[in-house]
Symmetry: C3
């Protein structure tokens, strides 16, 4: 790992502290036989490492690392800061986070800390240092994970006194003077003027919504707190454990902090793949949820692989792969047999270097006892165990895949724009995470590979850049886009706010007007039951939830139909960029975006239905997310290196 | 305004403090050219007028008034008490309101004050006095607005220590002795007896609901606090600014305080007209919401015009007319082009003297940046600008309309009865605001003009009085009704509670029995999906959500059908009054109320569908709230003074 | 009552403190004429008995008891601890309960006390002692009720400092050492280790869910607090009022405390019968709610009669029978005329000794003024009065019914298992109270009489034992079941947790494996819209919300169909026991359970639809819960002792 070919590898999450020491060696041996090479440990082990203030009990963890390493496994060591011990909470109750309701969030589960607490930062540094000193040069420790799932349980946002103090400092640094803050927040509006930064409070429990700039600044501040907390630990690890890559395990399209910025401070991005719970809580209409109940949304895992590959600047792992039913969703369904294998190969196809399963063995106690593993609680193999064995065997037969490479199409996910939308959604049913996935899915259904990038990412080489919701266009973005030669498609609301969360001079469109002549004179959010339609040539595009009135001197590619402002532009554009004056639904996006692919000269296929294709190096993978077998249209002369031309449900094939 | 003909006039809400001073003169000039004569200012300007305790900065406002006045505009000056400055909150944190959840509601938006805070009352009086001393005799200041939208953001009800103390005083004044309170509240019921007023607490955060009399007393107290807070300011303005009418801008059918009582202390009622958000949050079934998505509920604006005309004892303004999409509803749709004109003429047709648009120019910053204005943020005209110009031109061609005059039909809205229903709804889907609008709409759909009155209003001259929910019949009401000779229709639950919120002796009906023989022996609230039917002659009336069993010696006009108590009376009556033993739905109300119109000798038309007619003086107006053009059935010899016999969607016509 | 034949009797709840003393004698006389023999008093009378600390006002209650007793009524005296007076709350604010939101729940309604408050326990003992000393040997006092409706308004669970202190003591007693607690709770899981019991907090307001064992221990603790609070009062009454049976009035299938354990400390169980509100809030799909809108769920009252008959070890009363519309449900509908009679006879048929109506006269004031009674507020008879008169008359003609006797089928309701499900529901739509009623209803629809028993109940004599959700199988249960010779049917999740809330060694099924070979390797919770199907012979069983994968060496009686794990066992079994690997819906349960009846040799009838039959002694009762008349299939030679062979809606018949 620390040199040469990177993966594909398999791994597992393991908790020696949860099992009798007698089992460790047998567990490690079975992991190796199964074909695993990586094992993550210790991310919730603080109280076991340091059972009382300053007294460390390293013995058990030393022996665990030794046992695992001697078996031939590479250990991913974790800093255990996601769950401070009770004695620490009792010593320093001020480290607990405070909810938006003003109540302290108590000890008893995990993530019970406020990112702004200086005491907690000191303590987190202390335990990270102790761990890094102990294991930083341990030959079995090949990588580090910092903390665990930042943002889980809505813990990025705390309303503690520490957060308030830190927020005031942050505002001072951002705005310089209170006059500048007043200007930015528009405090003249409702007599909200401040004369001192010390007057500013956190934006919870107000009579009515705060200034959106107040709110957006709080969201930015909260993101920065996560980034700096993480960087503090990364610096410790880098100093004390040179040469070992550092990661953090992200979650499904979480937007509570700027992952691109945090990604700068780690070596590999990793994320936790739980497609079935995300289906239940996700974007699809009920009929499609039913169709994909045990396969998950076909595009949710790929979206995140592509996103975190960008966050990791090319390097991405799966740290936790769902192995079976889990415990945390509204309902917890089983994956169809074969899906664990499918998801594993899907990860590799999207460029992941490693897939690690959560977890080795199902715990028969505590909160996650309904979360399955590779083994049942009685150590017999569960379904996933057999599927992982199959993957391991198939990996041995797979030719060198090579790197994933740059895609022709990039989709922009900008966290700052998401906060802008969160601060002023304007429609209660406006869900940009769902919209981004809709745009992504429309392209993926036509066989297109994508990169998901941040607005600062180098754009060179892309043929088409799709920005579903680039509300705040960063300085220089338009210039870099123009220079890249890529065509661009912007979703509605793009360019609609300045960095201070104002409407731009000259109306929305704002900086985009250097690319495309679009001036948005009116916006509407629409109830779920309202359908707008537009004619695009002789095709009909249906749009929902958002509609704009735009003026343009450029071309009009589609026009609204029906009683309201009939003939108004629905899609406008020139030879460099297009702008959507509404939110097409899934089918509408298919029309609009395949038209854009043709325009940009990107090859695509007819609608693939439940099938998804992904290319990595010279290998093309196919995945069946549907309930029926599919006949593949592999090119003449294709040689199957995995499976064959008929793909059963949950089936995977690959050819070169 | 201060004499002679009153309106029709146009106006606008303007915030000089939100724009560079260089723009003021141009803005003022454009307002005048557009045809506006009134301009409201300063209702959120406290922190700009008094940037620190006791230091006043009058200069900018002096110059703004001067600029506007010199351009020919009449200024409506506002007391800025809806948004106290941060320094005031920091000096006196006890002025903040406390929510029903027991948490202080923080600074950062608006309406962050508790009506019961003696400190805030002192400070409000101080700033109102300072403003009135400064501008009370300013020749450009022609009217005053006190505060802004009492009740917005649920701010009438506070659970602060100040509110608790004031509530105890209020109870002492109302009940005299704690024994009387115990009797009224029925504290013998659950061992709830008090021995001292000081033991009584506010009715939030109880284990289970409080005594309904406890709750109703709290709602009455809260209303009284608003009334006395307003009166305190009105007295200051009357003293220091003689001859200028005083107004307050009310909201859509808010029932958190007694508008009729507050109306006694002002000279003109005004209200804020936002039909589209009210459609989304309103009473109509989904199919009708869809039909009227961009025109709004055809009856919501008229209802409030008629209501506040009564509250203003004949004088009513529109202070804020929606000019396009706004920002606060669940979804914010655009009005169909033409609707701003339609709403303007509708207001005049319902007797409004003035229509003022909110706002001159859309703000590109702060909370309401999605709230449109007459101008876009870049000062170019938005759709409403053009429609206002058209209205201004049409006004010049309109003959003198004369006063609106007394209607033949009055609908009673009694705030005390609404609190009674809020305290004991008995069905979670029982929404009296919706029901009142349903009754109103059934009559308006048949071309009937109405007055909406309070229970103390003089009844002389009405042919028909409709009381959808006069739960508590005030002393003397029945006598005045009998004396007036008007026929009356009472909705279910009328007469069902005494002033102390008890069931009347002799059962519900109570004081109504002096008019009509009705004894309610049973009431039922019904789930939304349950439909009851009654036969009224050979017509079928469907009823929902509420049904009663009544005994009567008077006539039975309709009888229930179906399995439960078949044949029981559904509508009963004599030659003076009728009583409904259930809640007919929209169609059922059409049958029941047109029958009552015939009985009362009030002329009416067949169902008008999307069309609404309104008469003012000699002029009859017609408004099309539907998606299709309508052919008007204007009388022979009618002369059109606006539009013609074919009414397009959003169309307006008028004839004499 | 205190000897000889027990019932059937009628009674009523009466509140002399709510009415002028002049009315008492007349009320008492009318009760006797109506045929009532029991009258419950004083359960909310503390503040009237002890208006200030230590000063007792016994006079009114002495006279009330005297008046009622002299009229010939037997008084059920109540301890008034459900509603402590305001002066007590003001003296000791710490007695108030604290909600899960961390806020004190205020005085002003009822049940405003924390079971863990030592001060409140002392005060409750003091008032109970005073009452028992006063009335313990009063010749008119024939029984006692302790407190009122434990658990109403979610008051079993308090998060006060007193509860926290008591919880720590409870944990010390249960676990002995903190190491044992750590083991049981699995605190190694997320670094949740404790080093001292004093560190443990109540499981509210955490960042994420607590350990399920933490939660289950809190639920057990809370139950124990209710049991010991009740026992404390029972001991006082037993000592000071010998020979009078003690009861408590339970609620519809409340599972917040262990009713079987509390039942050990009382002599008769009683419960409060409100079928219509329970229909609205209950398990049935909308179409059946509509069908039974005014008759209620046909099985909800019977379920509770059978349950509380077991809790009372054979003795059960109805303490509060709904007499008409009530006040507390989302909607409050009227019972069809005849239903009060039907419910009364239903109670007797299910073995109740006494049916007492709530209440004598509708109160025209306070919280429950929409709760009807036998009399209207003006003392005229309401519908129920006439129906009770009919019941009284019919009772005189009814032959001796004899005891209800042991049923052939027992359904197990285990409170500890319910807490296990509450702590780890795994599906948000998993509602075990509904499921238990579904199982019960499927059997009742086929004419089967049941006992509802606890897991400690003697199983001798049953042919079939049905355990819908015996999650935690108590020690010895399996042995006693085997010894009894009864066949058993276990619902899914049975045997899935140990007493410490862990997955059992060898996987779920756990201790059941001594009866049946079942090893659950996978569980799934399913969204409401997902339907699974299984083939059982040539019949199709549909299942919802829960599905398991089981391994068995026993027989497979039904197998899943469809795309996921087709052919997997859905029902498995041997000659002693069957296990359901999913939750059949109503129809599916009919198939599965009638098949089990045949297997167990229990006679049953075809689906009875809206009809229900119940046997007591030699008498068979029939009840029509439907909207259409039903022709009864009474056996040849049956002699009707009530009604006849045609049963109108709400009709009752009985034959011998
Ligand atoms: Zn709170
Ligand atoms: Zn407003
Ligand atoms: Zn009750």
């Amino acid at each position: 790992m620390t040199g040469g070919q990177r993966g594909p590898d398999l791994g597992v999450c393991y908790y020696p502290e949860q099992w009798p020491e007698e089992k460790w060696a047998e567990d490690a041996a079975r992991m190796v036989v199964l074909g695993l090479t990586w094992v993550r440990v210790a991310e919730f082990a603080w109280a076991l490492i340091e059972p009382e203030p300053g007294r460390f009990d390293w013995g058990w963890l030393d022996r665990a690392v030794e046992t695992l390493g001697n078996a031939g496994l590479k250990v991913i060591m974790s800093t255990p800061t996601a769950a401070p011990p009770k004695w620490l909470v009792d010593l320093y109750p001020e480290i607990l986070p405070v909810g938006a309701d003003g109540h302290v969030r108590k000890f008893g589960a995990r993530r019970h800390y406020c990112f702004s607490s200086p005491v907690y930062r000191r303590e987190a540094a202390r335990i990270a240092t102790a761990l890094a000193e102990r294991y930083g040069r341990n030959p079995h420790v090949h990588a580090w994970q910092i903390d665990n799932e930042y943002g889980d349980h809505d813990t990025v946002h705390s309303y503690s006194p520490a957060a308030e103090a830190a927020f005031r400092d942050w505002l001072r640094a951002r705005h310089g003077t209170v006059e500048a803050l007043n200007e930015a927040w528009g405090t003249a509006f409702w007599s909200m003027l401040y004369t001192d930064f010390a007057q500013v409070q956190l934006p919870n429990q107000l009579v009515e919504e705060p200034s959106p700039t107040h709110l957006v600044d709080y969201l930015r501040f909260s993101s920065d707190q996560v980034v700096s907390f993480n960087r503090m630990q990364a610096e410790i690890l880098r100093r004390l454990s040179p040469g070992r890559p550092i990661t953090h395990n992200f979650m499904n399209q979480n937007t509570d902090f700027d992952h691109h910025r945090l990604g700068q401070d780690i070596d590999v991005a990793s994320w936790d793949v739980y497609p079935l719970g995300n289906l239940i809580h996700g974007r699809l209409p009920e009929a499609l949820k039913q169709r994909h109940l045990r396969t998950g949304d076909p595009d949710q895992p790929g979206f995140n692989h592509d996103l975190y590959r960008g966050v990791g600047r090319g390097r991405v792992w799966v740290m936790e792969q769902q192995p079976g039913p889990v415990n945390w969703a509204a309902q917890n369904v089983a994956p169809m047999d074969g899906m664990v294998r499918l998801w594993s190969w899907l990860a590799f196809a999207h460029g992941c270097e490693m897939v690690s399963y959560f977890r080795w063995r199902q715990a028969p106690f505590a909160q996650e006892q309904f979360h399955t593993g590779l083994l049942l609680p009685d150590s017999t193999p569960d379904q996933a165990f057999h599927e992982v064995a199959q993957v391991a065997e198939e990996m041995r037969a797979m030719p060198e895949m090579g790197p994933r490479g740059r895609a022709e199409v990039a989709l922009v996910l900008d966290y700052a724009s998401r906060w802008a939308l969160a601060a002023l959604p304007q429609g209660r049913n406006f869900n940009p995470s769902h919209h981004a996935l809709d745009f992504y899915a429309a392209l993926r259904r036509h066989g297109v590979d994508l990169d998901i990038i941040g607005p600062e990412t180098d754009l060179t080489g892309y043929r088409l850049v799709v920005a579903p919701d680039l509300v705040i266009v960063p300085e220089g973005f338009v210039q870099r886009l123009a220079a890249s030669g890529a065509k661009a498609v912007f979703g509605p609301r793009s360019g609609s706010k300045t960095a201070d969360m104002h409407i731009p001079d000259g109306l929305p469109g704002g900086p985009l007007r250097d690319l495309i002549d679009v001036r948005v004179t009116r916006v509407e959010s629409l109830p779920d039951w309202q359908v707008e339609t537009a004619a695009m040539g002789n095709r009909r595009v249906t749009l929902r939830r958002w509609r704009e009135t735009v003026e343009t001197g450029d071309g009009v590619l589609a026009r609204f139909e029906g009683g309201y402002r009939e003939g108004a532009p629905a899609v406008v554009g020139n030879d460099r960029a297009r702008y959507l004056a509404g939110l097409p639904d899934a089918e509408g996006l298919g029309l609009v975006l395949t038209d854009a692919l043709d325009w940009a000269g990107v090859a695509h296929l007819p609608d693939l239905g439940d099938l998804r294709l992904a290319r990595r190096g010279g290998v093309t993978f196919a995945f069946n997310f549907g309930p029926e077998a599919v006949q593949l249209a592999a090119p003449e002369g294709a040689r199957f290196v995995l499976g064959g031309p008929v793909l059963d449900p949950a089936g995977v094939a690959a050819w070169v």
